[in-house]
Each structure stands twice: as structure tokens, then as C-alpha cells.
């Protein structure tokens, strides 16, 4: 028993001395390490925003809010020149092939990428590390538009395409995931164009379920009637009865109309009380950043909700009347394109389906 006690005491003494020595070392080195990490971060931001004379962290509360819903963002800084904000820099953490990748992404106020820099990685030397060694990777991000998610391409040409490094696919994508995560945070918290998440009707009805949330069943109308409607209405494609139990509550009508860049496909929900339930633009090829506001700016589709269909709808920059919907500035033709489709659905309803 004595022996064991002696052993335990010896071990504890050694342990305690060791702990003490290490605590002392830690006190000496930890501040230096923390300071260096901070400086490295600031330096990276300053290197990217060459015009900036100041790089400052954003408000702590806002950062906490961003981090609570965005798992990639670690830090956010604002870059200033002469006191004015010229852009934002995000430090993002994502997974690569060999471990975590830390990337700094700098975005300009005009919605383009100022630049990126990979700060830390554990990728395979000579292969994955090309994301750092090959300048073509980082430079392929410069000037790209943030309107749409960035994607990889072996020969990037589009506004949202960046370089896919051959032999380093997973590493290239690892950085991209972090940058796209920063993009989301930037758009959602620092611009007027938040990222619109792809809506999915969780009851499995597709777009029908999205425009007519109260219905629990959708039945295609009689085929002969649909043919009759289509013969006289060039917009209508499909029509469904929206039912709640045994009762018909209204109709969900699919239309195709002409927009600026091509066809626009819209689904319009019309309730039997003569009002629009909701609309959804489900396909379009409008100009990114301008025409695509018909999808990205929630105010547009929302302006249709509850409007009266009796006389058809009209566009207005400030829609107040119950037949007015939002005319998006800078997206006139696209707004009109959607309106043709919706009015086409209203026409079909008023002439063939309502009492």
C-alpha cells in the first residue's frame, strides 16, 4: 500500500511540475500566437483591398447573427477608403481534401469579387496545394459577379465561373464552398438582394402547392375543356383544380409568355372569390441582376397576392389599387412578360372556369 501511495505521489508531483512549466510557457507564447493570427488576417484583407486605407471588424452583434445562421463565416471586416466603405472581406472556413481550408473572400459594393486568398490548407502537396501555388485559381475569381452562385469550370468564361484545377478537384471545390458561403452572408446581410432559397413544396405538389397552400389535392381539369381553352388562349399550358377535401377552392394555372431573354413560365393561383392566391415564376432566362429580380426580389411576386382578377392586372411602380402589381425598375420587359402570363391565366379563369 505504501508503495502505491509513493508511486501516485511521485506521478502527481511530476504532473504538477509539468503542468506548471507548461502554463508558464503558454502565458509567454499564447498572446504572440493570437496577435500573429489577427495580423495575418488583417494583412490578407489589406492585400486584397489595395485601395483601402483601413480594415475594421464589423459590429460584434451583427457578426454573431451572421455566424448563427451561416456555418462558413468566421470573421467579417469592412474595408474603408477615406472613411467610406468600399467593400467587405469575409474569412470563411470550409472542408478540403486534407482538412480545413481557411479562405479570405473580398467583395466589392457593386456585387463583384475583389479577390480571394487561401490562408490555410492541408491539401496534398503538389496537387491540392495548386489552389495556392497556381495564381490562375485565385485570379479566376477576380471580377466575377455575385448575383448567382459561383461554379467551377475547366475553362471559366461566364460571369460566375471560376477555375477548376485539374488534379485538384476536391481542393478547388473546397475553397469554392467557403467563398459561396461568404457570398450568401454578404448578399443576405449587406445588400438589398438576399439569396432566395429554392422553395420546395413539402407536400409533394410542386409549384401547385406553393401557389395554393390551402389545397390538399390538385386535379387536372377535363382534357377536352383544356384543349378548348388553349385553342383560344395562347398562354395557357396546364390547369389544375385546387381542392380542399371535396370542395373546389380555385384553380392553379400554368402559363408560358415572352420575356426579355426568352420564355417565362409562371404558375398562377386564382381563388373562387376572384382573387390571386399567389404566383410563382418557375422558369426564366432574364438578365442576371436585372430581369431576374422577378424571382430574386420577393416584393414582385408578393405584390400579386390578394389582387382582384375581375378586370385583369396592370403594372405600377407603386401598386396600391387592387388590380395593380409591382413594375420592377430596370426590369420593365421582364415584369411585363410575367404579367402577360398571369393575365392569360386570369382570362382563362374568367371566360371558362368561373361561375
Amino acid at each position: 500500500m505504501n508503495q502505491t501511495v509513493k508511486f501516485v505521489v511521485v506521478l502527481l508531483v511530476f504532473g504538477a511540475v509539468s503542468g506548471g512549466v507548461l502554463a508558464f510557457s503558454n502565458n509567454m507564447t499564447a498572446p504572440i500566437i493570437a496577435e500573429r493570427a489577427y495580423e495575418e488576417g488583417i494583412k490578407a484583407y489589406k492585400d486584397l483591398f489595395t485601395d483601402a486605407d483601413e480594415v475594421l471588424p464589423i459590429d460584434e452583434e451583427k457578426l454573431a447573427e451572421i455566424k448563427s445562421e451561416n456555418t462558413f463565416v468566421q470573421e467579417v471586416f469592412e474595408a474603408r477608403k477615406d472613411g467610406e466603405i468600399i467593400g467587405y472581406a469575409f474569412k470563411a472556413k470550409s472542408s478540403g481534401y486534407g482538412g480545413d481550408i481557411i479562405t479570405v473572400a473580398a467583395f466589392n459594393l457593386d456585387g463583384t469579387v475583389q479577390g480571394i486568398k487561401v490562408l490555410q490548407n492541408s491539401e496534398t502537396p503538389g496537387l491540392g496545394t495548386k489552389i495556392v501555388d497556381e495564381p490562375s485559381y485565385a485570379s479566376s475569381f477576380v471580377g466575377k459577379s455575385l448575383t448567382d452562385e459561383l461554379v467551377l469550370s475547366p475553362s471559366p468564361s461566364g460571369d460566375n465561373e471560376v477555375q477548376l484545377i485539374s488534379g485538384a478537384t476536391i481542393s478547388s471545390n473546397g475553397v469554392l464552398v467557403g467563398v459561396n458561403g461568404a457570398r450568401k452572408a454578404y448578399l443576405n446581410y449587406f445588400t438589398d438582394t438576399p439569396v432566395v432559397e429554392e422553395e420546395e413544396d413539402d407536400r409533394g405538389f410542386g409549384p401547385n402547392g406553393l401557389v395554393f397552400k390551402e389545397a390538399d389535392e390538385f386535379v387536372a381539369i377535363d382534357a377536352a375543356k383544356l384543349e378548348e381553352i388553349k385553342a383560344n388562349n395562347r398562354f395557357v399550358q396546364e390547369i389544375y383544380e385546387a381542392k380542399q377535401g371535396e370542395e373546389t377552392k380555385g384553380y392553379s394555372c400554368w402559363t408560358v409568355s415572352g420575356g426579355y431573354g426568352g420564355e417565362i413560365k409562371t404558375v398562377t393561383g386564382i381563388s373562387l372569390d376572384g382573387t390571386i392566391t399567389e404566383i410563382r415564376v418557375i422558369e426564366n432566362v432574364e438578365t442576371p441582376g436585372l430581369g431576374t429580380k422577378i424571382v430574386n426580389d420577393p416584393a414582385f411576386q408578393e405584390s400579386f397576392v390578394g389582387k382582384k382578377v375581375a378586370n385583369g392586372l396592370v403594372l405600377s411602380p407603386s401598386p396600391v389599387e387592387d388590380n395593380e402589381v409591382l413594375l420592377l425598375s430596370g426590369a420593365t420587359v421582364s415584369s411585363e412578360g410575367v404579367l402577360y402570363g398571369v393575365n392569360g391565366a386570369i382570362d382563362a379563369y374568367l371566360n371558362y372556369l368561373s361561375e
Partner: protein, 201 residues
């Protein structure tokens, strides 16, 4: 034991890597470049020498039955100190060596020397043994690092040796190359050792 004998022992006759074949994991992983190899070697020399000195100093108060855990505590303490100082003062080396810095604590070489030499010898001799074994380790890992860097990246110590157009064989910087080259190096070293030993007999 004479000082020069102790040193020679560590460097050649009982070279950790080429002869004893211990402490290999770090050698294979870290030797991607010559600089990394030397950095690792110096770290190992530091830990090995310090732990040898302290274990030898305290050998009378360390009970035999619990000597291994005590060795481990002492070695781990020095490894952690090296880890902190590298992180603070040489961050590039710190991230290059990565997880292999804390793994120095399980480098069989250090525990083996503690057990085989420091626990039963004087402080000065133990210190020299630590330096000698450490140098042997450093010698081996650096040669491997130089060869791998030349063949795999076309440079040595970061200085490019070949024109831009030369495409180095990346495989040597990767895992397979490490194994194969180390195997060949051990074969070469052993042959040389045998021939010199035969010559002196």
C-alpha cells in the same frame, strides 16, 4: 564511454533510422522538403537532449516501476514547449510540420534512449547521447528530404535547380515515393556500413 564514441554511435552505428529503424513515421511524413526535414530534426534533437538530461538528472528519484509514465510526462512537457515556441516564433515551420510535432512524443527513439541510456547514465553522457542520436536522425531525415525535394519538386532548400520546363516526378513528394526512397536509402547505408566495417576488421 568516450564522447566521440557516443556521438559516432548515434550518428552511424546505431543510427535511429538506417539501423535501428525506429521513429520512422515522422521521417516519411515530414521529409517532403529539405527545410522541413531539418526543422523536424532540430526539434527532435531539442526534445531528445532535454529529456535525456532531465531523466538522467532525476534518475535516482524515479521509481523503477513507474518509470515509463514519468518518462512520458517529461518528454511530453518538452514536446509541448517546442510546439508552443514553434507556433509563436516560426509559424511557417509549425504549419508545415503539423501534427508531427505533438507526435514527437511517441517517437520511439526518444523513449528508447530514455530507457536504454539516460536512466542508467550520467547527465553529460546522456546529453551527448541525445545530441548524437538526434544528429543521426537529422542526418537521415535530411538526406531523404533532399532527395525527395530534388526528384519531386525540382528544388533543394527552396532553391529551384532546374529550368521552368522540367516536370518533376510528383510521386516522390507523395507517400509512395517516401517509402520507396527510404527503403533504397536504408539498403545503400547498410551496404556502405558493412563494407567499412569489413574493411576495418
Amino acid at each position: 564511454m568516450k564522447t566521440s564514441n557516443i556521438l559516432k554511435n548515434g550518428l552511424i552505428n546505431e543510427n535511429a533510422i538506417f539501423v535501428q529503424l525506429i521513429g520512422m513515421c515522422s521521417v516519411l511524413a515530414v521529409s517532403t522538403t529539405a527545410i522541413n526535414s531539418i526543422a523536424m530534426g532540430i526539434s527532435v534533437i531539442a526534445v531528445l537532449t532535454c529529456s535525456n538530461i532531465f531523466i538522467s538528472l532525476l534518475r535516482k528519484v524515479i521509481p523503477d516501476e513507474i518509470r515509463i509514465p514519468v518518462f512520458v510526462i517529461i518528454i511530453a512537457t518538452f514536446v509541448t514547449i517546442v510546439d508552443m515556441f514553434l507556433n509563436a516564433y516560426a509559424p511557417d515551420i509549425y504549419s508545415a510540420l503539423g501534427i508531427f510535432i505533438p507526435l514527437i512524443v511517441v517517437n520511439c527513439l526518444i523513449l528508447a534512449r530514455a530507457e536504454a541510456f539516460a536512466y542508467t547514465n550520467g547527465v553529460v553522457a546522456s546529453a551527448i547521447d541525445g545530441i548524437g542520436m538526434g544528429l543521426g536522425y537529422t542526418f537521415a531525415i535530411t538526406i531523404l528530404g533532399i532527395v525527395r525535394e530534388i526528384l519531386g519538386s525540382g528544388s533543394v532548400f527552396g532553391i529551384s535547380l532546374f529550368p521552368e520546363s522540367f516536370q518533376p516526378a510528383g510521386i516522390f513528394v507523395a507517400a509512395p515515393g517516401a517509402f520507396i526512397l527510404l527503403g533504397i536509402l536504408i539498403g545503400i547505408f547498410r551496404t556502405i556500413l558493412k563494407k567499412t566495417q569489413a574493411a576495418t576488421n
